[in-house]
Amino acid sequence: MRITALSPAALALGLAPGMALADARARVPELPAHPHDRQADAALLAWLADACERYTPMVATKGEAGLILDLTGCGPSFRQKQESRGMEAVLAQESPGFRHDDEAERAIARDLADRLSQQQLTARLAFAATPDTAYALACFAGSNPHDLPVQALALDESVHIALMRAGLRTIGDLAARPRTPLAARFGTELPTMLARLLEEEDVRITPRRKLPPVVAERRFAEPMMTTGPLLGRIAELAGEACDDLRRRGQGGRHFGVALFRVDGHVARLSVETGAPTRTPAAIERLFHERLDALADPLDPGFGYDMLRFAVLHAETLDAKQDGLADRAGDKPDPGPLFDRLAVRFGAESVRRFHPRDHHFPEYAATTRPARAPVPQLAWHRPEPGEPPLRPLTLFDPPQAITVLAEVPDGPPYRFQWKGRQHRVTLAEGPERLAYPWWRHPEGKGPTRDYYRVEDEQGHRFWVFRHGLFGEQDDTPDWYLHGLFA
């Protein structure tokens, strides 16, 4: 067992990561050790990345313990400073990198360092013009890229050793040399990485979340300790975002709210609509439903000190002029109702019927969430004068029944379902449906013979014989597949 990470106290005792645990224990017998939990580390890093979204939406994780924040242009929105503190302790080590220096960005760094130290997290912050430089500076706790060791290039270990053997120990040593011979000797990747480290080449980071087209946010000097005023704040921000949408000629389909708690926790809520909208009242109502429908209510803890409203997906919505035609007799549009029901009871609960191109009854139609796209297929219209040939409700799976019927392919004479006997008076069939062989690994399955039958009381059933006589060894089974009106 090897040591992967050590606390500052252990480092002070002269232990180092990479040592065997037995060796370390030989030197410090009372050394407490915990197994390395990669998942917990990754979760903590993701949690921190979420918390860092309070500064910028451009947040990316790097490696096992790195965060990169792109702060370009984020200064002005941060100038309204906030005061609020009081947190619990978590133990780990992270090294977020920063780029570009400017007074406001330094203020962000101070704020971040402050928050991290309150969480008892050790962090090394660094600014640079490009993400790679900032990351390298943070990793090696340097201030000038030229002073960094060649390991900062993050190339193959053999290349690092070769460079050391050639007497090239720092980035500064490399920077002074012509690049072509370096590439010829140490591989073509070296000049590329060198250019990135020296801020000559800028590779943009890919943020963890897609950047929303419209964002409105609010910071609070006093953290919001209850969820009471939350809805009002959301409505204000929705209003701002909707103004923005109107200017763009767009409407939102998917809206999200991120609630940043002072201790770094981020709660997210989102609602979707069936059609693009930019009506703040409608959006507020959906969030109201969303808050009501939460399985475990929001826990404000020490309070929320920032709220971000984002339109996560927007579509074109042209301005409509109303009030000219007489619309008094019009019924309200049901769209918003379905949105609300979907938010409250889950999108899966609100469904519409869709036909499918298949002859087998259970595959011939389906229901999908109401937001799914409108069906392309049309329903098969029945012939005039024909009685219903398909049942109103279908059992899934079909229910087994015991049947007395004429051999080989006569309709049922009587059958038993749920312990009740039904004597058939009227019957039509068989409607023979072949098994869709392409769905079966062996390319065959029992053929079904469907019968519409009516019993003495007038109940109409849809039953089928599962297989033909002679097609298989034993007598075919019978099933009840649906009920007619």
Partner: protein, 253 residues
């Protein structure tokens, strides 16, 4: 003066017409005559399945009446309990088409329990965009009490939506429904080669607020005309008044 008088006359004619159109007719002359033009289009109506096998029938009655009430581009909301679907089966699109319903106009809500159904129904009725809200409830439902039905009735009248409760596997309970029916499948008129014919229903009017009760009739649904009719084969059952049913209905209310 003359102008205002004629305006007043027009207005009163409008009111008269309004009360006329506030009913949804079945399309079968005898039944509509008995009901005084049909059932209230903004009322609460209950359909009790006579036996477990009649559940599909009761649901079909509610959906067909909703379809008769539906206007262009209006939808029907069909609320079902998720756990009831094992016993009663899933609604089947082609079957709806075969009954003459438009599956594209029906929105199905599959909900966890009766309380959720009542909440969703209250929301949907208040919104007023749907032609009818159909709640299918299996078994006894203590949540569906007098208060709940009164709330639905008030909302329905306010926003002009028909509320229909389809009940199976239970006995009629107290409610403020405008009409209450017992539905059973009726033997259909056989087609050629002894094939089952058009859907037929045996109806019994258990309760009718502000109207006559006790109607018993057999109706057949004609998809092509989009209306109910008395069976063509001459097996016509004349509407008859049941003396005891009336008293029963009162007591149940």
């Amino acid at each position: 003066m003359g102008d205002s008088l004629s305006a007043l006359l027009r207005q009163s004619a409008g009111i008269a017409m309004d009360s006329e159109t506030r009913r949804t007719a079945f399309g079968a002359a005898e039944v509509d005559e008995w009901l005084g033009g049909g059932v209230r289009r903004d009322g609460v109506h209950e359909w009790y399945a006579a036996s477990i096998e009649d559940g599909a029938c009761a649901a079909a009655m509610a959906l067909l009446l909703a379809e008769r009430r539906r206007e262009e581009r209006q939808s029907i909301l069909w609320l079902r309990e998720r756990r009831g679907e094992r016993g009663a089966g899933h609604p089947y699109g082609p079957g709806l088409v075969d009954l003459g319903l438009d599956p594209d106009s029906i929105v199905l809500l599959r909900l966890g329990d009766v309380t959720a159904m009542l909440r969703a129904a209250a929301d949907s009725v208040r919104h007023g965009g749907a032609a009818s809200v159909v709640l299918e409830v299996h078994g006894k439902a203590p949540a569906l009490d007098l208060t709940a039905s009164r709330r639905l009735a008030l909302a329905a009248a306010r926003s002009d939506v028909m509320v229909q409760l389809v009940r199976s596997d239970t006995e009629p309970a107290a409610s403020v429904a405008h009409s209450r029916w017992r539905v059973a499948s009726a033997p259909s008129v056989a087609l050629e080669a002894n094939a089952p014919g058009l859907p037929a229903f045996d109806l019994e009017l258990l309760r009718h607020r502000g109207g006559r009760e006790g109607l018993q009739c057999r109706l057949e649904w004609d998809r092509d005309k989009g209306c109910f009719q008395t069976p063509l084969s001459g097996g016509l059952s004349a509407p008859s008044v049941g003396g005891t049913d009336r008293a029963d209905g009162r007591r149940a209310a």
